[in-house]
């Protein structure tokens, strides 16, 4: 295994760790806002690391450019949709979680 493959593999594994953390947050966090936070923030890092991992072993520049574009579009889409969902929830009167009730 070359150094390039090793770095690529490390990036992919770290990406999966972030995805798992995001999913765990989605399942375990107390309300919609915290879940959105976990999902979009962690997944954005996850998708970035996966794109990086594939870009390291990519053979052509156009592959790298496609991956970079993919990463940008995925980030923009998740940021915008998170805001739309949160805004919809806020407008319909859902209050953010205030910590564990005594």
């Amino acid at each position: 295994m070359s150094a390039r493959e090793l770095v690529s593999g490390l990036a992919a594994v770290s990406g999966v760790v972030f995805y798992c953390a995001g999913t765990l947050g989605l399942l375990r966090f107390p309300d919609l806002y915290t879940r959105l936070h976990a999902l979009t923030k962690a997944d954005n890092v996850g998708v970035g690391l996966l794109a990086l991992s594939l870009a390291i072993v990519a053979e052509t520049w156009s592959e790298i450019a496609s991956l970079a574009l993919l990463w940008l579009i995925a980030m923009a889409a998740s940021a915008a949709s998170a805001q739309v969902v949160a805004r919809g929830a806020r407008r319909s009167g859902l209050l953010p979680w205030q910590g564990p009730q005594p």
């Binding site: 923009a76 889409a77 915008a80 949709s81 998170a82 739309v84 805004r87 919809g88 407008r91």
Partner: protein
């Protein structure tokens, strides 16, 4: 080995989702699961190397159908009273349908397994006739040339659906640049996304139509992408004027069908057969029809979405 793993996981996930879908009673959950199903199916198609089908599934099956279903669901009103009462019952009708589907699938699989040699099949005949079709993508060659009457009728179905749901008389009331849902949902990020995505989507859609003649792509995928973008821009309040254009140019939704029909009539008149393109210019004909279809279908799909949304207000 690893290939089988991915296919196996996707297959098990798809069947699991399908079974789960049979039991779900909540409309919203059903739609979300249906979209998820479409996304998994897209992954499987692209894994199997069917770029055309994967693109169509992602854009139409998961994306646009999802938006249409959600719009329809939101005008159904509160259905939660049905819940609980019927959720314990087994969906026998759906199960019987699923069993019949599985039986047919198994039958087709077994009868295909009897085929001695794959090279003597339809795929080979398409491959042989490809140079005469005017395009290089076998999928487009089948859809727009060898079996173009199938596609012609599909477009007719969509035009009929538009006539039934919206029709030329269904005009937007008042100014529509600031739709009511825009104030509720549009934030800075979403508006920025709508603005940046619009030119990119136009570029990608045009490319998809052009690419359809060489490899994966085509009018239906491009249309779904355009309609999806129009819906996105509408949701976040970025005016693109498609609605106004459609109101001013009433022929926009049927332009694709009309050009297709003209091509068909041309074939009858000059080649003696329905939809027989002139042999030396089949390629340009196909590109022109695909481009017109992409614009028309995008308009139809967008107007369908608007009609469903608007109906909620009038109830």
């Amino acid at each position: 080995m690893s290939v089988l793993w991915v296919e196996g996981l996707l297959g098990v996930g798809l069947v699991g989702l399908a079974i789960r879908l049979l039991w779900v009673r909540d409309g919203f959950e059903t739609i979300v699961l249906f979209i998820t199903f479409g996304m998994l199916l897209t992954l499987l198609w692209s894994w199997l190397g069917s770029g055309d089908v994967a693109l169509a599934e992602a854009a139409i099956g998961a994306g646009l159908s999802g938006a249409l279903l959600l719009a329809a669901w939101s005008q159904l009103g509160d259905t939660s009273s049905d819940e609980g009462r019927s959720s314990a019952r087994l969906p026998w009708g759906a199960l019987i349908m699923a069993a019949m589907g599985a039986a047919v699938g198994l039958f087709v699989q077994l009868s295909l397994a009897d085929q001695p040699d794959a090279s003597s099949t339809l795929a080979q005949r398409v491959e042989d006739a490809l140079p005469k079709s005017g395009v290089e993508n076998p999928v487009t060659a089948v859809l727009l040339n060898f079996r173009s009457y199938d596609t012609l009728l599909e477009v007719t179905v969509l035009v009929a659906a538009w006539l039934g749901v919206a029709g030329p008389a269904d005009r937007p009331r008042g100014a529509s640049d600031g739709p009511p849902e825009a104030d509720r949902l549009a934030g800075g990020a979403a508006i920025a996304l709508g603005r940046t995505w619009l030119p990119l989507a136009l570029l990608v859609a045009t490319y998809l139509v052009w690419a359809g003649s060489h490899f994966a792509g085509g009018a239906f995928q491009a249309a779904a992408l355009l309609a999806g973008t129009a819906i996105l821009c509408r949701l976040v309040g970025v005016p693109i004027g498609l609605e106004q254009t459609a109101a001013v140019v009433p022929g926009l939704p049927i332009a694709g069908l009309a050009l297709f029909a003209i091509a068909g009539a041309w074939g009858v008149a000059f080649q003696g057969r329905l939809l027989a393109y002139p042999t030396d210019s089949a390629g340009p004909w196909i590109i022109a029809i695909e481009l017109a279809m992409a614009i028309s279908l995008a308009t139809i799909l967008f107007l369908l979405y608007l009609a469903v949304r608007r109906r909620r207000g009038s109830r």
